[in-house]
């Protein structure tokens, strides 16, 4: 069957078998499944893959204890970032994030950045362990569903509320301003407060009211006496007639 080898070279280039087995007109490579040669079929059947069976069926083995998941370095980094955010910033506002078109997200970030407010997207599974170990345990129930954090070193609440009013898909849930946890109502009240100097001035005025009242009460007697004396002098001066300038009736002054 094979062509006769001739010459020194073992193979000739461009070698075609002299005899080609052709049966039923189909080639070796067909578009349909071609039935294998019977010998090949037998070989395939004998060499089929048999999956190895474990000696003891897995049902009989005891329950497997779940190996604790190793701490992911990335998770650790994110946790550290959240801790830093809570430490460095005076105001942290937590809002619920419903899906927004991307341009709106960018615009909102831009407007908040103008007031030095940073927007952070956080994952609940990272924030929850951080919060449960810090003193902010009461913020734990807020972290369900998608949230974003608005952090800022200064408490510009009025501007933040204005920006958030223009964005309906972000809902303010609560905030932690100066280590005080406030609800949404508390945040709105905080925004309505006057600035610190005005509040201080108001307090000083209220505190100084009582002593001033006391001092005016104490001086009332002598002030009354001086007023009466003045009036008497004026009467004497206007009424020129030499009526006896009797000394004014001695009044017991308090």
């Amino acid at each position: 069957k094979m062509a006769a080898l001739s010459g020194l070279t073992p193979w000739r280039r461009g070698w075609l078998p002299a005899l080609q087995l052709v049966r039923r007109g189909s080639k070796a490579v067909t578009r349909h499944w071609k039935a294998m040669h019977f010998q090949r079929q037998k070989l395939m059947a004998v060499t089929e893959y048999l999956a190895p069976r474990p000696a003891v069926p897995p049902r009989c083995l005891g329950p497997r204890r779940e190996t604790p998941q190793e701490d992911n370095g990335y998770a650790r980094l994110l946790r550290r970032q959240v801790e830093e955010a809570f430490r460095d910033n005076r105001m942290i506002a937590i809002c619920q994030y419903n899906s927004m078109p991307d341009e709106d997200v960018v615009l909102m970030r831009h407007y908040l950045r103008k007031h030095n407010i940073q927007v952070k997207f956080v994952l609940n599974e990272i924030v929850r362990p951080v919060l449960s170990q810090s003193k902010y345990k009461n913020l734990l129930p807020l972290f369900v569903a998608r949230n974003i954090l608005l952090v800022s070193p200064e408490a510009k609440v009025r501007e933040m509320l204005r920006v958030l009013k223009g964005v309906p898909q972000v809902n303010l849930l609560g905030a932690c301003i100066d280590d005080t946890i406030l609800s949404r109502q508390g945040v709105e009240n905080f925004a309505k407060l006057p600035p610190l100097e005005a509040a201080q001035g108001q307090t000083v005025g209220a505190l100084a009211l009582l002593p001033s009242q006391t001092s005016s009460l104490l001086q009332r007697g002598s002030a009354h006496l001086t007023a009466l004396l003045d009036q008497h002098i004026r009467q004497l001066q206007t009424g020129e007639t030499g009526s006896a300038a009797e000394p004014p009736p001695a009044q017991s002054s308090g």
Partner: protein, 111 residues
């Protein structure tokens, strides 16, 4: 098991939706997820006129979803013991029923 974001609700017969909850309570998870799903692009695209408002309170009240339909009907869902999928399917079935009614009405009017 179906994912809550896969449920498609046609909001055409809905006029407005008010979602009221108190985030410091512990049973608001399903209501918040419901609010999140409702604000999805595709569901919002079915009706641009539908206003979705979120009312965040701090008075310990239970989570509530108030849906006003265009024909004056009102659906109130108390989300304290409901899952998100249940709320979405309830809203979805009612919307579909109203859509069918409107289609039948318009078909009756035309010939």
């Amino acid at each position: 098991k179906k994912m809550a974001s896969k449920i498609r609700v046609v909001l055409r017969p809905v006029k407005s939706i008010v979602v009221r909850f108190c985030p410091f309570e512990s049973d608001v998870e399903s209501t918040r997820k419901f609010l999140q799903c409702i604000n999805h692009k595709k569901i919002q695209a079915t009706n641009r006129n539908c206003e979705v408002t979120a009312d965040v309170r701090h008075d310990g009240s239970e989570p509530l979803v108030d849906v006003m339909f265009a024909d004056g009907e009102r659906l109130i869902m108390k989300g304290a013991n409901l899952t998100t999928i249940e709320m979405l399917t309830a809203l979805g079935t009612r919307c579909n029923a109203k859509e069918l009614k409107e289609e039948q009405k318009s078909k009756k009017k035309k010939p």
